[in-house]
Structure formats: structure tokens, C-alpha cells
């Protein structure tokens, strides 16, 4: 490529990168500023003397919300990986009556958008006394991972049959073959689904917003959005909270970028 083209490409790409990163940089920088300097014209992107004490204050305010977010993300990730990999294994590798029919019915449910379930699920949960508990934020999700099941099935289909046969000859049970022999072969798919599920659960706003009333059960994003005036009287503290809610996501994304993108492009392949 000619040097001129290359340079102009760098310039354009850097401008875009600045536009995409500036708000995030501003968020972190605002979280470290004394309150009086948060909104200043022109905007400062680097704080003059960093107020690390802001973070000490925020961690005293949010441990409950942080723990709730971590707990729900953990339950969702582990639960979905177990349920989806079991079903995916059965659909890919076991023979049983009604298998293909069940698979098609499951796939068909994925065309109905979430909005159709939203209100009736809420009513059902209210009837069984689950409103203002955390069950609606993980039980229904863990038990309906249709798309993850589809991905797991694809992944199990690629595992060589010989591995399975060797297990059978050694007298392993079906569950033993699934758990000890087949599952370790699907680590990339498990990682992709795990990263996806973590991000979805961690960033969920709607679920906790409609189901949780008690403050001590609330997750971090909703706590930030709802208790703004009451808790986070300063913008700098609010930005600390926002930063804390973003950092784990960026960390997970950086470490597992490959799997995340793999998960996304797998979705895209269907088109």
C-alpha cells in the first residue's frame, strides 16, 4: 500500500477510535476528579490530582449491589453452560424417540421475541410469589438457553466419533462420556457462550428493574440508575459507580475477545 493511503487510513482510524473511546475515558477521568471540576469547559480528559478517595467512598456504598450482580452473572453462566451443553449433547449424539421433533420445536421458540413473554412471565412470577426475589433473574434464563443449545449441538457434532466409542468400550455411562470425554472437547463453544452470558447478565437493566423492589436485592446497573439522587449525590461518585460497572466487562472482553467474536459471528453465519 502506498504511504499516503496508509497514513490517511491511520488518521481516519485514529479519529474514529478517539470518538469511540473519549466518553469512556471521560467517565474514568470524571470518577477521579474533585466534584467541582467534573463539568468543566473545555472538558478535561485527565484529572489534575486524582481523587482516589472517591473509589473508597463508592466501595462503601455499593458492595451489596456489586455482590448481587456477581452472583447473578455466576448463576446464569454456570446454569446455562450445564443446561445447554447437556441438551446440545443429546441433540447431537444420542438417539431417542422424538429427538428431531423436540429440536425443531425448541428452535421455533427462538423466533418469538422476548417482549411477548415479558408481561405474562411477570404475572406468573407474581402468582408464585417470586416478585421481589432474584429467582426471575436466573431460573427462567438458565432453563431456556435455546440459542446456546443450538451452538453446543453444532460443537458436539464436530467431535470425532472414535472418542465416544473408546469411552463406551471402557464401560463409561452416557453421563460419564458426556462429562469426562465430550465436554472437554467443546471448550471454545463453552467459552463463547460463557462470555456472552456473563455480559448479558451483567448489563441487564430491564429484568432487575421490573422484578426487584428491595434495595438489598438490586443489581449494580439499576442501583446506579435508580438511587442517583439519594446515594450518589455527586457526579464524580456516580461516575465511579459507572466505571466499576464497566471495568469487569472490558476485562472479560479483553481476555476472551476471540470467543466473544466467535459467538457473534456464529450468530451471523445463520444469515
Amino acid at each position: 500500500m502506498r504511504i499516503a493511503t496508509k497514513t490517511s487510513q491511520y488518521v481516519v482510524m485514529t479519529l474514529f477510535a478517539a470518538a469511540f473511546l473519549a466518553p469512556l475515558v471521560w467517565m474514568i477521568s470524571a470518577s477521579l476528579r474533585p466534584e467541582a471540576q467534573v463539568l468543566s469547559v473545555p472538558p478535561q480528559f485527565l484529572p489534575k490530582d486524582a481523587q482516589w478517595d472517591n473509589y473508597r467512598q463508592i466501595f462503601e456504598l455499593i458492595p451489596v449491589f456489586l455482590w448481587n450482580s456477581v452472583k447473578l452473572a455466576g448463576l446464569n453462566v454456570v446454569g446455562i453452560l450445564i443446561v445447554a451443553s447437556m441438551a446440545g449433547y443429546a441433540f447431537a449424539r444420542l438417539r431417542f424417540a422424538g429427538r428431531d421433533f423436540a429440536f425443531i420445536v425448541l428452535l421455533a421458540t427462538s423466533i418469538i421475541p422476548g417482549i411477548a413473554y415479558l408481561i405474562p412471565q411477570y404475572i406468573v412470577f407474581r402468582h408464585i410469589g417470586w416478585v421481589d426475589t432474584q429467582y426471575p433473574l436466573w431460573v427462567p434464563k438458565v432453563l431456556t438457553p435455546v440459542f446456546a443449545t443450538f451452538l453446543m449441538r453444532q460443537s458436539f457434532l464436530t467431535v470425532p466419533k472414535e472418542l465416544e466409542d473408546a469411552g463406551k468400550i471402557d464401560g463409561a455411562s452416557t453421563f460419564g462420556i458426556y462429562w469426562r470425554i465430550m465436554l472437554p472437547q467443546t471448550k471454545p463453544a463453552l467459552a463463547a457462550i460463557g462470555v456472552f452470558t456473563f455480559l448479558e447478565s451483567w448489563n441487564d437493566l430491564f429484568g432487575p428493574l421490573i422484578y426487584i423492589n428491595s434495595e438489598n436485592l438490586q443489581t449494580l446497573p439499576v442501583a446506579l440508575a435508580q438511587f442517583q439522587g439519594e446515594y450518589f449525590t455527586q457526579i464524580s461518585l456516580l461516575m465511579c459507580g459507572a466505571t466499576v460497572s464497566v471495568v469487569p466487562v472490558i476485562a472479560v472482553f479483553l481476555f476472551a475477545q476471540r470467543y466473544f467474536i466467535q459467538g457473534i459471528t456464529m450468530t451471523g453465519m445463520k444469515g
Binding site: F20, P23, W26, P43, A84, I115, P120, Y122, V142, G271
Partner: protein
């Protein structure tokens, strides 16, 4: 014990095979039982409830009262907010889809060319997509402050006095759209990048030999070959932007006036704010019908413009 008497007297192998098949069926269904139970309990059953509820006047607590199609009649004939939130949603969708896919394509093209540090740029463009909508909403909320916000500060530097943004009923929606595009671009970028990387090199080689310039190669080879990806993006982006909620909730709560109140926000308020569960269910079904119809239409129209190799 009918089964026992039937199997007795038959060759052992047949009975064994049958027992084995029954065991296999049982094991298979045990493996899929969690998801089967989940889908029946948390999807099929609620869907039935929702269909029924849309025909009732119901607050979700006391006994529902059957009203037939009254909810639908009220929505279409007697509810200005329904019409307005529907229009707002269309406005949001029609503006954000071309912008996300268009800029996403530019970024994908930039990132697909061999250049040092491309991983950094890709990550930068993608970062907003994985971050929390609440955090993003807050940051941009302060950016859009009329007097001491970053946006008007920058506009002021070039001599433009910026609008009131979130407190102006004509500028609040463009502001929300801008943020949503900024956040959402990573997704089409990744899909198109995957598409670009899968294109067969031979086409470009022979075009180059025929003397086609960069622009001609883009126009006549790259874009047609990417049309399946564009179709996929059109369908998925339509479904997600038609259900936008988070940014609206954090940045404007639907205001000022009802200028940024989108359809889902209206459903949310009716169902969980005003306790009009039957009414909100009817709204959900209308949304479902619109999404299904548009998706079907896009699918049918693909023959006209989607190019498969």
C-alpha cells in the same frame, strides 16, 4: 404386566434390544429435560396467558374481565400515546439502522486492510458495545448538558451555539439516536468484518487484472458479495431497535413531553406503572405482529437484491 407376558417367549436379543431402546429414550429425554421443562413453563405457558390477557381488562391481580377486542379498538382508535410512541419508534429505527450499518461497514473496511495495530482499533470501536447502557447513558447525559456539556462546548469552539439537546423535544431523539449508534456499531462491524474476511480472493485478482480501481471493486464485487450479511443485519437490527429501552430509560425517561417515549417504554409504563396488564399485553402482540410482518417482508424481498454465490 402386559409387557412382561409379551416379551416372554421371544428371543432374548429382541427383548434386550427393546429394553435398550427404551433406556436410550429415557436417557435422551433426561438430558434435554431441563430445557424442555423451561421452555414449556417459561415460554409456552406465558404465551398462552398473554394471548388470553390481551382480550381482557386486567390489572394482573384481581379477576380479569373479558372484553374481546376492545383493547385493540382503543389502541388504534382512541390512544394518541400509542400512535406517538409507535411513530417515535419508527423514527428511531429508520435513523439508527442506516447509520449503524453504514458506519459499521466503513469501520469493517478500514479494519480489514493489513495495517499495524488493527487489533487495538477493532477493540476501541467495539468497546461501547459491551459496556453497560446505564454507564453510557450517564456519560452522554452529561455530555449533552446545554451549558457546560462537552458536546455544546465543542460546538462552541467552532462557533455554533448548540441546542438544548435532551430538554428540547426536537433534539432529544437525535441525541438518543446518536448515542445508540455510537454504542451499537461494534456489532455490524464484526459481522461485516467476518464477511469481508470470507470473500474469495480470486474475484479481486481478476478484477485488478481487468483494470478495475478500488472504488469499482468495492461497488461491483465487495458490496454484492456482502448482501447476505446486510440482509442478516437489517433483520436483526430492526428487531433490536424496535425494542429499544435502556438508553431511553436512563437518558430521558421518554421526555421531554413524550418526544422520546418509544413503544417498549409505553408498554413498560402501562404494565408495570399503571397496572394495565391486559392493555399492555395487547400492545405486546401488536409489536410482535409488526416485527413478524417486517421480518417476513425482508425475507421475501431478498430475491430482489441479495446476491448468493
Amino acid at each position: 404386566m402386559a409387557t412382561l407376558s409379551l416379551t416372554r417367549g421371544r428371543p432374548v436379543a429382541v427383548a434386550g434390544a427393546r429394553r435398550e431402546r427404551r433406556r436410550q429414550n429415557l436417557v435422551g429425554w433426561l438430558f434435554i429435560s431441563p430445557i424442555v421443562v423451561g421452555v414449556v413453563v417459561f415460554q409456552f405457558f406465558p404465551i398462552l396467558v398473554s394471548m388470553g390477557a390481551s382480550l381482557t381488562s386486567w390489572n394482573g391481580i384481581s379477576a380479569p374481565k373479558f372484553v374481546g377486542l376492545q383493547n385493540f379498538r382503543d389502541l388504534f382508535g382512541n390512544d394518541p400515546l400509542f400512535v406517538q410512541t409507535f411513530k417515535n419508534t419508527i423514527y428511531f429505527t429508520l435513523a439508527s439502522i442506516p447509520l449503524t450499518i453504514g458506519v459499521g461497514l466503513v469501520l469493517a473496511l478500514l479494519c480489514s486492510r493489513p495495517i499495524k495495530g488493527v487489533a487495538f482499533f477493532r477493540t476501541a470501536y467495539f468497546a461501547p458495545y459491551v459496556t453497560n447502557v446505564v454507564a453510557i447513558g450517564f456519560v452522554w447525559f452529561w455530555f449533552f448538558q446545554p451549558d457546560n456539556g462537552v458536546i455544546n462546548g465543542m460546538l462552541g469552539q467552532v462557533g455554533i451555539s448548540g441546542p438544548q439537546w435532551l430538554s428540547s423535544s426536537s433534539w432529544a431523539m437525535p441525541a438518543v439516536i446518536l448515542v445508540s449508534v455510537w454504542q451499537g456499531i461494534g456489532y455490524p462491524m464484526i459481522i461485516l468484518l467476518a464477511g469481508l474476511q470470507g470473500l474469495p480472493e480470486e474475484y479481486f485478482e481478476s478484477a485488478r487484472i481487468d483494470g478495475a480501481g478500488a472504488w469499482a471493486r468495492l461497488r461491483y464485487i465487495t458490496l454484492p458479495l456482502l448482501t447476505p450479511h446486510f440482509l442478516f443485519l437489517l433483520i436483526t437490527q430492526f428487531i433490536t431497535s424496535f425494542q429499544v429501552f435502556g438508553l431511553i430509560y436512563v437518558m430521558t425517561k421518554g421526555g421531554p413531553g413524550h418526544s422520546t417515549s418509544v413503544y417498549i417504554f409505553n408498554i413498560y409504563q402501562n404494565a408495570f406503572g399503571f397496572g394495565k396488564v391486559g392493555y399492555a399485553s395487547a400492545m405486546a402482540w401488536i409489536l410482535f405482529a409488526v416485527i413478524a410482518a417486517v421480518t417476513f417482508l425482508q425475507w421475501r424481498l431478498q430475491k430482489r437484491w441479495v446476491f448468493y454465490t
